[in-house]
């Protein structure tokens, strides 16, 4: 699972990073991308490309780890054995995705330990939506279906990007996400077509999660910084608004057909433009939560940090078996 809305640095620093690059190598690099070829770890790449990719893949990895927490909460209380099995499998997938993504980011030269460190100390971000709590089982169903659906929109776009190891990780991830999506949809259908109490529970979850879901794809293109160079280098494959529109187009009808309402009276598809119209999300809240002041930011990091600290003795014991071998960046 992953949300967009990456906060890119102001373009002045980007230009600083770019101006020292060898123009000939840069031209070859850009020609390779224009031809549709992938960039591999040992290929020459501009510093800015490396930096943005590390940031993006790392943030994606962190989102998988932190995203497993609000859903994992419901494993012990899942309604029935079948749901429990499925949710355990899904949460295991998410953590596995983080491993794949950290591996891809490592090929660019940042170690996994450093990434974990940066997550715990709050230096790196993760998808904002996981800073909200899952009050009921229906909240976890909303995440499994619709947050994963949003993530698939993002990930399918990114899988067409230019960095080989990231694309290969995403292909594997997207294949597993199809189970998450179907499982999540199945859970929501079950509640939405169930007893009045179940319907009410599902409707309340939709009401709670709609605003974070609209935030999920990141600030509107109107207010977020455009970075043309990242589009040219196929680091960013679709704009925040394009992803949001695609999500609305695919899923709003599916939500409505279950008799659920969406808490935005302005939400409708403009038949002339084919675009969805909606109330502008509250971007101030989005910024506030990203910067640490959301309902669960503190808990999420505290849980991750505690796992790291309380598991340290196990890793130390295992590390004594490594005979002091040195870590090198993985290959592909």
């Amino acid at each position: 699972m992953y949300g967009g809305g990456q906060v890119f640095e102001p373009s002045s620093t980007n230009n600083d990073l770019l101006k020292d690059e060898d123009p000939k190598k840069l031209a070859e690099f850009e020609a390779r991308i224009a031809r549709g070829e992938k960039i591999e770890p040992k290929d020459w790449m501009p510093k800015l490309y490396r930096k943005q990719l590390i940031r993006m893949i790392e943030q994606h990895g962190h989102s998988e780890i932190i995203g497993a927490l609000p859903e994992g909460t419901w494993i012990t209380r899942a309604p029935g054995f079948k749901r429990k099995l499925a949710l355990m499998a899904k949460v295991q997938d998410e953590v596995g995705h983080a491993q794949l993504l950290y591996g891809a980011a490592e090929t660019l030269g940042k170690s996994r330990e450093q990434m974990i460190q940066d997550l715990i100390t709050g230096k790196s971000k993760y998808s904002n939506i996981f800073n909200y709590p899952t009050f009921t089982w229906a909240d976890s169903c909303f995440i499994s279906w619709l947050v994963d659906a949003g993530a698939i929109v993002n990930q399918l776009a990114n899988a067409r990007g230019s960095y080989g190891p990231y694309c290969r990780a995403l292909d594997r991830i997207c294949a597993e996400e199809s189970f998450h999506l179907k499982y999540g949809h199945h859970c929501v259908i079950h509640l939405a077509t169930g007893t009045p109490k179940q319907r009410e529970m599902m409707q309340e979850a939709v009401n709670r999660w709609w605003a974070p879901m609209m935030h999920f794809f990141g600030p509107s293109d109107k207010i977020s910084t455009h970075t043309e160079i990242l589009t040219k280098w196929k680091v960013k494959m679709a704009t925040n608004d394009e992803c949001r529109q695609q999500f609305l187009d695919m899923y709003v009808p599916k939500i409505w057909e279950l008799g659920l309402t969406i808490p935005d009276e302005n939400l409708k598809r403009n038949e002339q433009t084919g675009e969805w119209e909606f109330t502008e999300p509250d971007w101030e809240e989005f910024k506030r939560v990203i910067n640490g002041d959301g309902p669960c930011n503190k808990e999420r990091l505290a849980v991750r940090r505690t796992a790291e600290e309380r598991g340290a003795w196990v890793r130390r014991a295992l590390a004594s078996k490594t005979k002091g071998e040195e870590y090198v960046a993985p290959m592909a």
Partner: protein, 212 residues
Amino acid sequence: MSFINSLDPRINRLSIPSEFGASFPEQGEKDQFITYEVFVQPKENKAFQHEGIVHAPTEEMAFLFAKEQFSRRGMNCSGIWVIKTTDIQVSPITENGEDIYDYINKEIMEGAAKGENEKYQVFQLMKRGKQHIHAGELDAHSPEEALWNAKNKFAGDKPAFNLWIVKDSVILKIEGEEFSDIWETLPDKKYRDAMDYKATEKIKKFKEEQKA
């Protein structure tokens, strides 16, 4: 001392302090395991292909992690090879669709120090952006000789862009009849597959009821 108050009873049971001290151990004091490259055989008699990495303290642990990571779902695994990243010898990667075998000449082999005659495994990158795929095995007295022998044995009409050469003796191989039990239960885990969650009928019935 106050503790994190969570909706999750498991987290409450952990008694996590609500405030941490400012310091967190620096990376140097922590525990970066080395990495192992994982190769998966998707079906019996098919070539092994590179799937990704795992971090592990030993190759046995690397295999366990690799199994969890790369063979969670049914019928897509019948063997795993685990190789320490530093045990893989890598050729340069070619540009403009050139064949790496065109760059391998006899001098490369003759300039290398000769060891014992050993078995080597060869992996080729046949398409940029895709995985390295196992080409086959050969005998050689050095990795350089293995490159030369690979040219004679595996160079073909289609160019290869990059080669990985590994001594067979350093590979942990979990494959074949002896280990077939490991993958036996994979097809039973239907709850891990999208196919197991059909609901069209339920939606249809619901819509009909709404109409009525």
